[in-house]
Amino acid sequence: MHYESNVREPLILGDKSYTDITNDIARPIETKAPRLWWIAFSIALTMMLWGFGCIAYTIGTGIGVWGLNKTVGWAWDITNFVWWVGIGHAGTLISAVLLLFRQKWRMAINRSAEAMTIFSVIQAGLFPLIHMGRLWLAYWVFPFPNQYGSLWVNFNSPLLWDVFAISTYLTVSTVFWYTGLIPDFAMIRDRAINPLQKHIYRILSFGWGGKAKAWQRFEEVSLVLAGLATPLVLSVHTIVSMDFATSVIPGWHTTIFPPYFVAGAIFSGFAMVNTLLLIVRKIFKMEDYITIQHIEMMNIVIMVTGSIVGVAYITELFIAWYSGVEYEQYAFLNRATGPYWWAYWSMMTCNVFSPQFMWIKRLRTNLIFTFLISIVVNIGMWFERFVIIVTSLHRDYLPSSWAMFSPTFVDIGIFLGTIGFFFVLFLLYARTFPVIAQAELKTILKSSGDSQKQHHDPNDTH
């Protein structure tokens, strides 16, 4: 029953027992935060507060405080929105798609990746809300009966599809994450000594006791949620891409957008997972669970999706030429050689060129190199959205309307603020939640643990 080929690399290193896993995963919650954590938290908190100040200024004064103009009516806000949603995708990919494919290496990273999903979708959701200007009327995006002669929201509009897609995605990801957390909260509850801590984790764990029938249902629920989340995650970025693809702006009006956006989302998300996990495994000493093999797997996904994104860029160029549409051709020529050439080539270098290093095993198993590439990829993916949005808009049909976009301190402040907010949430999570799905991890200890594998008798098929 616990048989696994000895050729496979162990997923849990060191001489671990079930209790060792419990202790290792409870340690960050039960011990004092390391100094590095406090430093990171202070920086993130400062950025977050600065961002909140900029948001308050925007809402108080109006979005005229941004660098937008008559031609470029969408810039950093939507760039940041798409960027954050894209980052979120990796969490669902890891927890849902890899569950359906029975990839056991997901178990060490799915919890943190899902946390990342939820926290980044929160950041993404902020931008359309702020961009509304009058935040207090945000509920108008939902189909409420109202006093304006039953004026309804427009279900034909991709922007409304986005509302439904993002809301569904955020809430379904949250329940998926929370369902998985319940047995792990119960573990923390059962070993808590401090009465306050015990009380809090009792509330959080919903009384979980690990009964046989509960586990049977738990596994079924996880599987069905994974089955639902898989098409959901693909639909979300597809719909985000339709915000652009269903318009008639040259450079946006392309049918390649849905698959290309989804691939780009996975690409940037896996890079962000790498950034976060490399920090988590170092600060909380999780090297035995998040192994070099895990990092290598992630890097392979980054390499594959980065190459898909590269093919999409080139296809786009080809189709622009092949379409014979002058405006379409100009939009792409302008991207590569116009005033925003530096953004285009930053995107090309970061997204298409840099992941190709991962073909080399020595580089994709090198932690420092991986960390650098993960940051480079996220910079590149931010530029990709900037290029798509701003360069397609800034040269309108009439040359008299041509304009450039330059961000104000408020644009920059809000963007930095969301990065700070994201890390504040993630750092708080890392200190209070079990960062690895320990109950799931225990199920593979006998088949994929290092010492268990060594003592394994190949003739014993038990």
């Binding site: 279900f155 569904t168 573990m187 690990g210 009964k211 509960a214 225990k442």
Partner: protein, 172 residues
């Protein structure tokens, strides 16, 4: 059949999942009824060994999904085609059928929304899970690395448990 409800419970603690599984099989072969098994993680094959029925929660999720789809159909048809039909961007809006392709994303999202949320609510309710509920496991070690089999105190059960590899046996 012996009436077991008022009998005292015997709790046996184990430290290995494979031993638990074989103990469950032995107990059932001897015709002894198992009240509950508590484990820190799902034991593969335990539900079959215990003779538990397949869970129907996936079927429930499917029904909830159909309900969500129906809600989406009614919502889009009522607002876009019945209550205030408008010509939006030259897209046909006079009948729901002609307008439907534009509603596919909404139909899909609401199906997933209802299926996922109502299934999780169902899961919580049928397992008696809610914020602040008292822990269901009698021994806190069973969320760490111990396993517990709970049986009714019928004749000879303690000997069977001992022979099956139980580390501790207690009466509750």
């Amino acid at each position: 059949m012996i009436h077991t409800d008022n009998m005292p419970l015997i709790r046996a603690i184990y430290t290995d999942d494979d031993v638990v599984l074989s103990a469950v099989k032995t107990l059932r072969e001897k015709g002894m009824k198992i009240k509950e098994v508590y484990s820190p993680f799902p034991i593969h094959g335990l539900d079959k060994a215990l003779g538990l029925k397949e869970t129907r929660i996936a079927m429930a999720a499917f029904m909830y999904g159909l309900f969500g789809l129906a809600v989406a159909v009614i919502l889009t048809a009522y607002t876009m085609n019945f209550d205030w039909p408008q010509n939006i961007g030259g897209k046909p809006s006079m009948t729901w059928g002609a307008n439907m392709p534009a509603f596919v994303p909404i139909l899909f999202e609401l199906t997933v929304f209802f299926a996922a949320h109502l299934m999780v609510w169902t899961f919580m309710i049928i397992n008696g899970l809610y914020p602040g509920a008292k822990e269901q496991n009698p021994d806190p070690r069973t969320t760490d690395d111990h396993f517990m089999i709970e049986v009714h105190s019928v004749k000879g059960v303690i000997d069977v448990l001992k022979a099956s590899g139980a580390k501790e046996i207690s009466e509750a």
